[in-house]
Every structure is written in structure tokens, then in C-alpha cells.
Symmetry: C2
Subunit: 199 residues, 2 copies
């Protein structure tokens, strides 16, 4: 692995654990076994490091979403796929996901990170499309508040990065299964609706 990538990986771990602002350039250098000045041989600034970490991750993630969106599976399958790929992303890129979750609000305020907001909007489009399809096709309840459901799914999925650990008792596939089960069917044995389709 090129030195540059190695350093980025170390930085990502620290940013994810302690936060961007709470991680000093000296911390990153020390964790890498070099001195802070030496980092500037590889990067122009601490900001450039997060930038590279986040942008390369996002690019990959959205390529995956696009593939799901464009597939010809039915609405419900697409939703399941989108959820599963999100948990896979948490598994494979947990530092990147954590940094995005924790810092996007703050970083998004700078011009340089305007793409974060764009990606967010893009992700919303994907989900709103999938959910709308789902309701139209009859796979999802017709009385759903699509916007709220989108937020619910988005939050539910990504927030798992706070506790998910690769190598724990549940694999990312297991977690995705359980989450989907709750999301699709709920935790209750009986419905609270009056006049729902199931009761």
C-alpha cells in the first residue's frame, strides 16, 4: 500500500474515533510514527485529508446506489438491496461512514465540502424514488409518510456505525436482516391500526 494511503487510513481512524477537530495533525503523525511536519510532504492540509477520505468513499457508495436504482428488480427487492449495501458499506468503510455522519454538518458549511450536501440530496432522491415505487406497486403501506419514512430509514441504517464492529457476534448481513425485518414488519405481534390492511 502506498504510504499516502496508509497515512490516510490512520487519519481516518482517528477522525472517526475522536472527531475531526479533536484530532490534531500531531496525533496523526504520532500514530503514523513520524513527525507532524513530515505529513505536509504528503498533504497540504488536514482539511485535504478528510476531503480525500470522504470524496473517494462517496463516489464509490453512490455508484452502488445507482446500480440498485437502475436494476429491474421489483420495488421491495430494491429497497432491501439498498439497505443491505448500506450495512455492507458500514462494514467495509466504517471510518468513512462515521466521519461522514459526525462531521458532514460542520464541514458542509465550507465551500470545499459543498459536494457533501449534493450527495445528501442525491441520496434522498434515491430513497424517495424507491419508496414511492414501493407504495405504487402495493409493496408498502399506502398511508406512509414518504418523507418521514425516508429519514427513518436513512437514520436507522447509518447510525448503526456507532456500535457495529466487524468481527462482533453479528455480521453485517445479520444486522441487515434484522433491521429489514423490523423495518418491514415491525416489532409487534399485532397491529395498532384501526382500518389497516392487516390488523
Amino acid at each position: 500500500m502506498p504510504r499516502r494511503d496508509e497515512l490516510l487510513g490512520i487519519a481516518a481512524g482517528l477522525f472517526a474515533e475522536k472527531g475531526f477537530k479533536n484530532t490534531t495533525v500531531r496525533d496523526i503523525a504520532e500514530a503514523s510514527g513520524i513527525l507532524s511536519g513530515s505529513l505536509y510532504h504528503h498533504f497540504d492540509s488536514k482539511e485535504s485529508m478528510v476531503d480525500e477520505i470522504l470524496s473517494s468513499f462517496q463516489e464509490q457508495l453512490f455508484a452502488d446506489y445507482d446500480a440498485v436504482l437502475k436494476s429491474d428488480a421489483d420495488a421491495r427487492t430494491k429497497i432491501e438491496q439498498a439497505v443491505r449495501l448500506s450495512f455492507r458499506a458500514i462494514h467495509e468503510h466504517r471510518y468513512e461512514v462515521a466521519i461522514f455522519q459526525n462531521e458532514a454538518d460542520y464541514l458542509g458549511g465550507f465551500d470545499r465540502f459543498a459536494y457533501l450536501a449534493e450527495r445528501n440530496a442525491q441520496s434522498r432522491d434515491v430513497w424517495i424514488t424507491l419508496l414511492t415505487e414501493g407504495v405504487k406497486s402495493g409493496a408498502l403501506r399506502a398511508d406512509l409518510d414518504i418523507e418521514l419514512t425516508y429519514r427513518f430509514i436513512r437514520d436507522t441504517v447509518w447510525v448503526a456505525v456507532r456500535w457495529y464492529r466487524p468481527g462482533g457476534s453479528l455480521s453485517h448481513e445479520d444486522v441487515a436482516d434484522q433491521y429489514l425485518r423490523i423495518l418491514l414488519d415491525g416489532i409487534s405481534t399485532s397491529s395498532i391500526t384501526e382500518g389497516g390492511t392487516r390488523a
Copy 2:
């Protein structure tokens, strides 16, 4: 309102919006219309400010949880009450909730904020108890992974502080209703279980 509380409120807003570390003592002073040195007449440090904000909020919140836990309602009702009071807390104390959500991990590392971890454990106890009761009483599916379900609920509820705004199109009661509906019944019109109780 005593000056002290007024200043705490202003600080809370800034901490919630920009993060603890990203908010400078000078920011707080400026937003309060005074100079940074003057803040130290009221507080010994920036840390003391978050400390006071978080600890007083937590005390109140846990009193509410305890009341639910000790009530003699059935398991399902208690779960609903616990969810509703959480959304009410988001409504009434959104800065405090946001700060806790964003900074607990980092702050929890300091001795002074050890109580945050204790409160977290306490909250877990409440939910595990409620969910276990729920399964035992037959109100919740017997095949639930209690630990995972706890995390799911905790995350789902509190993360709403990221987008909920008082005065928006949905009241906190509306949001709680919709969340409970999804949590309890899911978003689907038909079950994905094979051998579930409903299918």
C-alpha cells in the same frame, strides 16, 4: 431568567449547532453581547458549561424514564410512553439532546463526564427491561433480538434531533405516532417471515 441560565442557553445553542470543540469561548461571548473574559465571571471553564447543560438535562430525563418504568401500565403502553417522552424531550430540549448525541463519545473519555456512560447504561437497562417484558407478555414478537432492538429504538428515536424542528409541519406528537407505527408494524403490507406469527 437569571443571567447565568441565559448564557447557558446561548452556549447550548452554539454547542448543538457547531459542536463543542468548534465553538469558541469568544463565539459564546459574542452571541451573548459581552466579551470572552466576562464569561469567566459566571463559569470557570468552557467544560463547566457543557457539563452543567448535560447533567441537568439528564437528571430530568431519567426521572421521566423512571416514572414510566414504575407505572403499572402494560408492557406495550410503557414502550409507547417511553418513545413519546423521548420525542417530547427532543422537542423541549433539542440543544441538550443534540449535544449529548454528538459529543457524548468524546466527552465521555474524561473523568468529569463519566456520568454520561453511567446514564447510558441506565437507559439501556430501562429499554431492555421494557422489551423483555414486552416479549414475555406476548405483545412483542418472540423472535426479537432484544439487544439489537434496543439499539434500533435508541438510535432511531434520538437521531431525529438532527432534523426535527419545533414549529415544522409535524409536531413531536405526530412524529412519535408515525415512528411508533413503523416500529410496531413496519412499513410493509405483507410479512417477509417464513413461519412468523402473522405472515
